[in-house]
Symmetry: C2
Subunit: 456 residues, 2 copies
């Protein structure tokens, strides 16, 4: 698909002009992932009319790529028997996700209509927490017995892969009670003499995750070791499923979004179901956005109460007030840069508590350098503009101090929060910006007062 | 590895106490990815002394996980023959990356020492731009002829996989001139009758990328279709290599970092080699951070010049000045939230130009609601605190207007930039924050002036 917007326009035209066969043909030429993108741009009734024109296999595939709320929307609108058939065509982990997003009584109806074995497997998956390995794993995992020969193993794989339509990543080796003993790559299997025993060629030091491990932790393991898949075990080391990189991809995207939104003071874990700030209700958006704004409000009231003590200064020298936004604005900006660098550095693993002094020192030097350059520049401009060299010196000095302090606060706070085991992304939010505001104003107004005292 | 910091401390102790055998044993028990993490925390001389104690295979693996500057550092310090041996053990794409990060004459020395075939393949890889498919692909790709039977294909795979130690993802089908014709999954190969022809079981509609496609585009394709690997072809459809998800993973992390840093007004593409703001030189950090700060400075000088026109107001009613930080702070914060939501929504694909009116309307409503709540609250607090109902009304009204306008600017600007094909992440930066500052102050001071005029 070359251009999403043109494609959507063309499809909407086909719907409007009621050329059904042409619409059907057009839709079935796209890849499922493209169709999912197109469907997200359509109005609900257009979406439904397109969906029902897809071949059944393709419809199930498209469902897999759609976001949860659209999956539930579409399944709720189509015939119940068709819906059950589509659900039973989904991979187990996807089917469980779809059913997990529905109201309880609705998902029960579907579960009762699904084939016995499939529905009992899904019911087990639904017992795991959404955010854990159990919640994202696929329970269909390819295992072979440790006492098999390479030939037996290959035969087993042929049969299982055909029956269950499972992905082939690694082959896990288990004993007869399904305890995970090792792993063999397909490459090793294909290139080993056929009469060797699996126990002799398997790798025994395996990285695995526990069903209750949180998805963020699993994503970190994937990113670090760069595996394609990881086995999931229970407390007794029974293999329960497999997590693949595409499951984790979604987790990484979610976590990145959370990191970015948290940084701008949006609360991402309100704990209700309707947990998307962009697509959820406006009430939800307000709940997510106001808490840190409110804390900013309190912080800024402190700034106001400090500033209001200088009313005699403003009466005497009103130009002093006019420079306040300049100081607050630049302090806030350079501070945000430092916070962003540190928070991102910590989340990619570049910055650790171990190396923190190095970065504090480095950022402080950067802050002093930039502060000096900007302070000098602001001094000169203010002097020439206002024809007042003292004002120029005060504003420039306040600027230099302000930018240096803002850099230091921006660098240290995420590290301190990390040390206190608080999410450092919170630091980039409004609180630090407000702190920088308050300190910046205090520094500036103190300098002004000293000057006024010295000339009187 | 349970805890990076404890592990690093223990290893540093082993280095200091000079218990060489123990250090060697300890190091060789860790996974390569863990060792790479540990090495990044060590001082250069500690790093070198640890690296030389690793088995050669393991040393090559660790090298793969290290960031470029450390790869070059370590290879430069160890014996040249050992360095060449280590490089020749790396996958082709990694070897090319390592050599590409060295000075030209240095990499030539190594290339001359490497086995003929390997070095000529690496020389070809080095001709591609770093940021393109050619620059991140592995040229070792598993192909079978389209006229082969399934049995022949499996035999070919057995031999090739053993010789070349290549990863098995998909098997690509080519004609005798190496034109890409189709793809077969290992699963299909293993489960098809052995005498069928490959041409009959291959998938012909394949998603592929071109050697000159930019890595960001490739990452988007991986994220959308969730493939494990993609074939890379040249203009004439000859297969040139394969890009796997772990290559793309690094790209995605890089792009996310760029998006986040750009949002805070840090320039990420200065175009020099030393392109890491966190680890590069301080001069580089200053160059990356000042451009947008400077633009902010100009914007804030505009704010100052507007505000300075109200000097008579500040003389008459100095409390008016004290409320400026409150208005600027909250406008900036809520505006940043809107920008962040839109920029992130666009980069995950949730927000498109097609759906932009929906989001503009939604954000505006959110802005009005939050503005109303905060305006009312601020009115009441100001009234009670300053015993001045008029001031309360003015500040509260300015707050409500300010927050609504800030939300609208924050929502629309990224969309407009996107429409103009400018990176919307730039919007979250200082420019918009400054614009919001200026407009916020103008609204507030205009309200104040109206009030002062009306009472006089």
């Amino acid at each position: 698909m070359q251009n999403l917007e043109n494609t959507v326009d063309r499809i909407q035209e086909l719907i409007d002009t009621d050329t059904e066969q042409q619409l059907r043909d057009e839709l079935n030429t796209y890849h499922e992932a493209d169709l999912a993108d197109i469907f997200q741009q359509l109005k609900p009734e257009e979406r439904l009319s397109c969906f029902t024109k897809l071949d059944e296999e393709k419809a199930a595939d498209v469902l897999e790529y759609l976001p949860p709320q659209l999956q539930v929307e579409i399944l709720g609108e189509i015939d119940e028997t068709l819906a059950s058939r589509l659900i039973s065509k989904l991979p187990h982990d996807e089917a469980a996700d779809v059913l997990g997003d529905m109201e309880d009584d609705e998902s029960q109806t579907y579960l009762d209509k699904l084939p016995e074995k499939f529905s009992s497997e899904i019911r087990e998956l639904l017992t795991y927490n959404d955010d854990t390995a159990g919640g994202i794993m696929n329970p269909k995992v390819l295992t072979v017995g440790y006492s098999m020969s390479v030939k037996d193993a290959l035969d087993t794989i042929r049969i299982k892969a055909e029956e269950e339509s499972m992905e082939l990543y690694y082959v896990y080796v288990v004993d007869k009670h399904n305890h995970l003993l090792g792993v063999v790559s397909l490459r090793t299997l294909l290139t080993s003499p056929v009469n060797l025993s699996i126990a002799d060629i398997m790798i025994k030091d395996i990285v695995k995750v526990h069903v209750d491990d949180y998805q963020g932790h699993i994503a970190d393991i994937f990113m670090k070791y760069q595996f394609n898949a990881l086995p999931v075990v229970d407390l007794y080391d029974h293999i329960k499923g497999i997590v693949t990189w595409d499951d984790v991809q979604d987790v990484v995207e979610e976590e990145t979004t959370d990191e970015i939104l948290t940084s701008s003071g949006i609360v991402t874990d309100l704990g209700d179901d309707d947990d998307d700030v962009l697509t959820g209700s406006i009430g939800h958006a307000i709940k997510a956005r106001t808490p840190w704004l409110f804390i900013t409000l309190i912080g800024e009231f402190i700034a106001v109460s400090i500033t209001s003590k200088y009313d005699h200064t403003f009466t005497a020298l009103p130009i002093i007030a006019a420079f306040m936004p300049l100081l607050a604005g630049l302090g806030g900006n350079i501070g945000t840069q430092s916070i962003t660098l540190m928070v991102r550095g910590m989340s990619t693993g570049q910055v650790t508590l171990h190396s923190s002094w190095h970065y504090i020192w480095r950022e402080t030097l950067t802050g002093i350098s930039i502060g000096f350059i900007f302070g000098l520049f602001v001094s000169l401009v203010t002097w020439k503009w206002q024809h007042n060299i003292e004002l120029g010196i005060i504003v420039g000095l306040a600027m230099a101090l302000n930018m240096t302090i803002a850099t230091m606060i921006g660098t240290c706070t995420p590290l301190v929060l990390k040390k206190m085991k608080i999410d450092p992304a919170v630091a980039s939010g409004p609180v630090i910006a407000t702190t920088i505001d308050v300190i910046g104003l205090a520094v500036y107004l103190t300098l002004v007062t000293w000057y006024l005292v010295s000339i009187n």
